[in-house]
Symmetry: C2
Subunit: 224 residues, 2 copies
Amino acid sequence: MADKRMEIAAFFSSWNKLTAAQQQSLCSAAQLRSVTAGEMVHGGSSECTGLLLVCSGRLRAYSASPDGREITLYRLLQRDVCLFSASCAFHALQIDIAIRAEEDSSFWIIPADVYQRVAEASGPLSTETNRLMASRFSEVMWLLEQVLWQSMDRRLAAFLVEEANLEGTEELHITHEEIGSHLGTAREVVTRMLHYLQSEGLVRLGRGSIELTDRAGLEAVGDT
Amino acid sequence: MADKRMEIAAFFSSWNKLTAAQQQSLCSAAQLRSVTAGEMVHGGSSECTGLLLVCSGRLRAYSASPDGREITLYRLLQRDVCLFSASCAFHALQIDIAIRAEEDSSFWIIPADVYQRVAEASGPLSTETNRLMASRFSEVMWLLEQVLWQSMDRRLAAFLVEEANLEGTEELHITHEEIGSHLGTAREVVTRMLHYLQSEGLVRLGRGSIELTDRAGLEAVGDT
């Protein structure tokens, strides 16, 4: 129990400003959950999964169109906290964000109603929640600006560099279809752009793989 | 002073949960400002204008590209509160939102540092701030989904209906260029789409005006 308490505490910078009873509420409500790569974690605003505190692995938050197209909004890594899976706790937040595990992952879930009750009573926790929301909002605004004002070749180059950083390798095993779902575009567009980047000597396309052959060149293309 | 106090109080649902000293801080810091139609109110994240409480008129919040293209994020009407002009108070909020008056307008400005100090000490005000941010976030996510998944004819039809509602008339005096700046697209695209809507009998294009001749038809096209 002391271990669990320390683990939960590490996710909140305002922890020491909570009362003992508030700390206890969050801790005793938190449940550990493990998922395997590819598993759905949260299905949209109709579900009330709760606040997610990521212990290990990697989750992908994305938006899906009615006809099944997707765009990645952001990734959740170890130590990240996800508010949007608890959007039922924020009445004004009507956002359909889906979350899926990209790797085997584990996370604590704090039920939305428990979190909401503590945050409403605590200025510091509420302020921390605010910062978290502001930070996600900034990421989504950045994405909107990218979609509106940036060309797809720049977005693709920036995505490949980010992906190589996340995976820790220059050789990515990802399909053109999957890249399309990250960037919110069709597979055909991705394939055409990848061939363009290959003709510029920036990547080498293999069977089911993309090798970054000139990372500096890709960073220059993707620089926004 | 009693009038000013009541006016400010009306903007906050958590007002009665603030201490007298907190109410006093917000009130005495608030300054009334009037602007004329077309005037810039806030220039982006580098400025720290403060929280805006709109008394009358209409403001437009938008994002601009480095090369001067624009897209409307949302409108601020009477009784609306704008957080993003105080984004300097929310360290994690790095969003370049510009705000311009669309009509002659007046609003209270509460300096960001004053607002931040009170919100950090007050759970209820902080929670209200959270709801406000969540609500704007939802609008921007909706816009992102529109830009990604909706065709421009639907977006244009929905915009014309919204504009007619705001202006209270079926005859809009707005240029194709201005519509492009609302929707984040080029004038040529707007002109082409308007001619398409005219050929469908939904609008009549005049010199510097657009008449909505079939509002139900436009609503059907724009329905998302």
